[in-house]
Symmetry: C2
Subunit: 318 residues, 2 copies
């Protein structure tokens, strides 16, 4: 049962009463020494180190309120931040969240957003330990994730070496396919459209990769080729993606691509926001990972089937 009448706005309820409702009854994991309600939260880490990353989501730029429910938006904001921590070989342990919204926003929407965030955080056993609630002309959500390496060495982007294989955990192409469906007002392909609203990072596979000897890793947020480009640049080597190994991803979005008049390979190779993990390994990757190419000596560049890719390479914010 929602504690707010659907007609009550943030202004009606007031900042402190909304915060009370957002915090009420949430159960924090054991490493949260102090949770919400004080000037700051306090966490313990298992090895004295903390992984940290932040992302901002802006209404009509990163989500639309006529496509996503507040619950979906909350899940997405947590998922994409958690993926950054996974990509270091760590586990997300806690989040802090700042939420800006117009004063006439229903207070119930803030609670649904928070419920979505807690739903997604529960998938990895993390807590939401603090936040800020402010007035803004449109919805803006800023999430910072903290993570724990559990004694592992962090997996950076600069460790790929010639001879390594490239492998992926999670799925590619679904989020951009879903986005194209939404944009074209096509109401079929429910699963793809859902995936655009709520990505599905392969939680836990970051640690599996680190334990399995990954030499470099990142998550697919800008697009597979763009994100591999970051690894190629940081590692100073050439990366060659084998399209034949991506047949399942291509097949999963081929009908949707046809429906929107798009190119399924563009979705798989250049579409962002799937938040799969891509890593390099000196030998066979661990279970849960599939090989999609090889690292070679040469100038930093990303090839597809040994050739320059002529399509779009990925997303920039401006």
């Amino acid at each position: 049962m929602a504690p707010f009448d659907p007609a009550e706005s943030m202004a009606d309820v007031g900042e402190f009463a909304v915060i009370d409702a957002l915090v009420h009854g949430r159960v924090q994991p054991p490493w949260v020494l102090i949770g919400p309600g004080d000037d700051a939260a306090v966490l313990s880490s298992s090895d004295g180190r903390t992984v940290v990353s932040t992302d901002m989501l802006v209404e009509d730029r990163h989500f639309r309120l006529d496509w996503s429910t507040p619950h979906d938006i909350g899940r997405k904001a947590i998922a994409q931040n958690a993926a950054d921590v996974e990509a270091m070989g760590a586990a997300a342990t806690a989040f802090v969240v700042a939420f800006g919204a117009p004063a006439d926003t229903p207070a119930a929407s803030a609670l649904q957003l928070s419920d979505g965030m807690w739903h997604e955080a529960a998938a990895m056993g993390a807590g939401i330990v603090g936040g800020d609630l402010v007035s803004a002309p449109q919805w803006v959500i800023s999430v910072t994730v903290l993570g724990d390496l559990g004694g592992r060495a962090p997996v950076r982007r600069d460790g790929a070496r010639p001879g390594d294989v490239i492998a992926v955990a999670g799925e590619l192409g679904r989020s951009p396919a879903g986005y194209a469906l939404w944009r074209n007002d096509i109401r079929d392909f429910e699963a793809l459209r859902r995936r655009h609203l709520v990505p599905a990072p392969p939680y836990g596979q970051g640690r599996v990769a680190a334990d399995g000897g990954a030499t470099a890793m990142t998550d697919v947020s800008d697009g597979l080729l763009a994100d591999l480009g970051h690894i190629a640049d940081a590692s100073g080597c050439r990366i060659d993606v084998d399209r034949a190994s991506l047949g399942a991803d291509h097949a999963a979005v081929a009908d949707a691509a046809a429906a929107v008049g798009g190119d399924a390979w563009e979705f798989v190779l250049s579409g962002g926001e799937d938040h799969a993990l891509v890593a390099t390994f000196p030998g066979a990757p661990p279970a849960g990972w599939r090989v999609i190419g090889r690292v070679a000596a040469g100038p930093p560049e990303v090839l597809v089937d040994g050739d320059t890719w002529r399509g779009n390479r990925g997303w920039q914010s401006f």
Copy 2:
């Protein structure tokens, strides 16, 4: 020398080139094991615990681009977050920053904002270790601060006990006085107007208070009476503020109050954003702190000179 031509916008330069310029040449403190440039940063803490807090600042709500330079805004965003960590008895060690701005924003403004953040972070020896840069309809800045307790017990809001004294480190009333001057288009009182744009938290005094036996502490962000109300509520006791002890703060803003037709006591008691620290101590406070009242048994409430305060009590976001 700025690396951007003043005419170049964020869209002209592009996300990744702007980020490169923001990151270039910054020197991180020794506890930053991995700084910007990967999926996440990695920090070490001295005692295995991490303090974390977050704040969002929205253009025309928390700052105005016709009053503040980007450098001022950067300093303010860092200062108000650092104050939350000080208020736990900790030291701010690192920040992550998300910045949203229109695509036609000069790229040089982003660099000035970042320079201001680094200027303020340098005052406490902290680094800015990561961030996000996105397109937004107006400026939005979200900062998350991480802090280190250095083995101290965190100072919460719920430890005030009858008989404790209340003490303040830092100055009160200046920021609200400056705000009233700006609002009334009065161009005198430069120091007060500056203080509104860039608060001056008493860095280091949070640890001094913790070492000096503080039983409860918070920073003055919503207004002295409102913030003491949080301590009274959490600790379950009555707090009585002695106005005679605040004579210096009153005197510092009296002329400005007269110029705007305002009440200097309102600035001192109810104005927010000064980010002074207020704490309770079972005995005499340490050097740098001045006694401004007493904690007494009784229902949670904040009195002024033994009486209910009839003015405004503080700030809420909605």
